[in-house]
Amino acid sequence: MKHARNPVADMAIWAAAIAVLGFLLLPLVIVLLYAFDASSVQVWPIRAFSLRWFAATWADEEVRGALLISLEVAGLATLFATVLGTLAALGMNGLSTRTTQIGSFLLTLPIALPGVLTGIAMNSFFTLLDIPFNLVTLVIAHTTFCMVIIFNNVMARLRRLPPSLREAAQDMGATPWHGFITITLPLLAGSVMSGMLLAFALSFDEVIVSTFTAGSETTLPLWIFGAIRLGQHMPEVNVVVFAVIAITILPIIAGQKLAASASREH
């Protein structure tokens, strides 16, 4: 590497890289620290640390209600998206490259287009059909943009599966259905699971499409959004933000671990 011959330039690049990494990570560290701030007004540096706001936040009925709705929506949307996304991947497996490309393009649209577009489109749709906005519309919206996560995961796994496995099963007299249940499905389990964790995290954290499809329901991100906008309940916001980061990051890390071990099997 010829760049390395210039030690000054090399140090400058390293320094810049470390500074950028700090820019990416320090805000997260700071916001996590504020959850332990004893004060009700956020001032830096934090003067005293305490767990009192964790207790206060947990005691808040509004927060607990929002958490429950978020868990329900994310749970149901993940469930539906898992069934639909897996079906899409299984159905598309073995079709021509062109068809697969179009299919995956269509499935990607709901997360590729700006959320505000997906949001207002679904809002107009439900309004036109006189469907009231509630948990049902939220779950429909979240399922729609979570499908692609499962689809991508399962599709990637199917591509790596040697077709010979199923052929072997059929040669031994297994019906296609039996071969699917005993061979393909167990091999897909890991990628489906890691997809589910990602989908859950995506849904649990979503705010833009939710704003347009929630009606009077308040998910946890919508509660945070409202509280920050109005500048109310700031100590509780700190704690909720801490919890949300934990709830979204842990499944992601678990999902990556699952995906990594699933890919090692082959």
Binding site: M1, K2, H3, I13, W14, A16, A17, V20, L21, F23, L25, P27, L28, I30, V31, Q42, W44, P45, L84, L87, A88, L90, G91, M92, G94, G103, L106, P110, L113, P114, G115, V116, L117, I120, A121, M122, N123, S124, F125, L128, A141, T144, M147, P176, A201, D205, V207, I208, T211, P221, I224, F225, I228, V237, V241, V244, I245, T248, I252, Q256
Partner: protein, 283 residues
């Protein structure tokens, strides 16, 4: 299995997911497209389903909206350029300077913010830029006067650049990784200075990566309304904010639909442009 039965099997599997997508998503997009040409009756507040270009006429002639469209696009471009500059050193180090173990750790650290709550990350900057926040504390520490960038377009620029930086880093790391080391050595052996190697070899080969990253940074900035509401000021309205405030009982959904279609057109135009620079070839 006969080919006919096999095809039937594929169709049976594909009907539920694509039926869902067709009804709820493509259906929604169709309604959006149609309703952009409808209007709201000023007296009754009811939606009038007559075909009219009126929404678009207002959007293109009223300076309120042309200014908002220009601001949205301008900040999106600024954020994209900022992220390209910020991504270079870290992407270079991750792609070419570290061993596989450290590389994996760094990639996870870069992706981590992406997967933690967007609201939390925006909120972090309210705490940092606020009057008694980390930034002013640091400035006072070195004897500089307080800044007041909270709730301005500068705050918005910082926050967007921060939010979407991982989107730029990932494809740039991928692009830089693919440059063969032999190419760089060859250029060096020919007597090229490091700057010449960068300009003539590294930079051109990184263009698809930058283009791919820019699709994200540009599109997600253009389509946002959350950050302008939480860290922007009075003059920070985005297209998304107009859409947001026009949805609901008292709003004008057809007008919001029309503005969001303009947003869609701009994002699509940008994607086509980025495609010419190889944004979609690399992955």
């Amino acid at each position: 299995m006969t080919p006919g039965r096999k095809l039937l099997g594929h169709i049976a599997l594909l009907v539920p997911p694509f039926g869902w997508l067709g009804v709820f998503y493509l259906g929604s997009l169709s309604v959006l497209l149609l309703s952009a040409f409808w209007q709201v009756d000023a007296m009754s507040g009811e939606i009038v389903r007559d075909w009219t270009w009126e929404n678009f006429r207002i959007l293109f002639s009223d300076t309120t909206y042309t200014v908002i469209a220009r601001r949205t696009t301008g900040i999106a471009i600024l954020v994209t350029i900022t992220d390209i500059i910020l991504a270079w050193p870290l992407a270079w180090v991750i792609a070419r300077k570290v061993g596989p173990r450290l590389k994996l750790t760094l990639l996870v650290l870069v992706a981590l913010p992406l997967w933690s709550s967007m609201l939390a990350r925006i909120y972090a900057w309210r705490l940092i830029l606020g009057h008694d926040g980390v930034l002013n504390w640091g400035l006072r520490l070195v004897g500089l006067p307080d800044q007041n960038v909270a709730f301005t377009n500068i705050a918005l620029w910082i926050v967007f650049s921060y939010l979407w930086l991982p989107f730029m880093l990932m494809p740039m790391v991928a692009a830089l990784e693919r440059i063969p080391a032999s190419l760089l050595d060859a250029a060096g052996d020919q007597g090229a200075t490091p700057w010449q190697v960068f300009r003539t070899v590294v930079f051109p080969l990184a263009i698809p990566g930058m283009a791919a990253g820019s699709v994200f940074t540009f599109a997600v900035t253009q389509g946002d309304y959350v950050a302008p509401m939480l860290v922007g000021g009075a003059g920070s309205e985005f297209i998304g904010n107009v859409v947001y405030s026009n949805v609901g009982v008292s709003g004008n959904v057809p007008f919001a639909a029309a503005f969001s279609l303009i947003l869609l057109a701009m994002v699509a135009a940008y994607m086509l442009l980025a495609r010419r620079f190889g944004a979609f070839d690399a992955q």
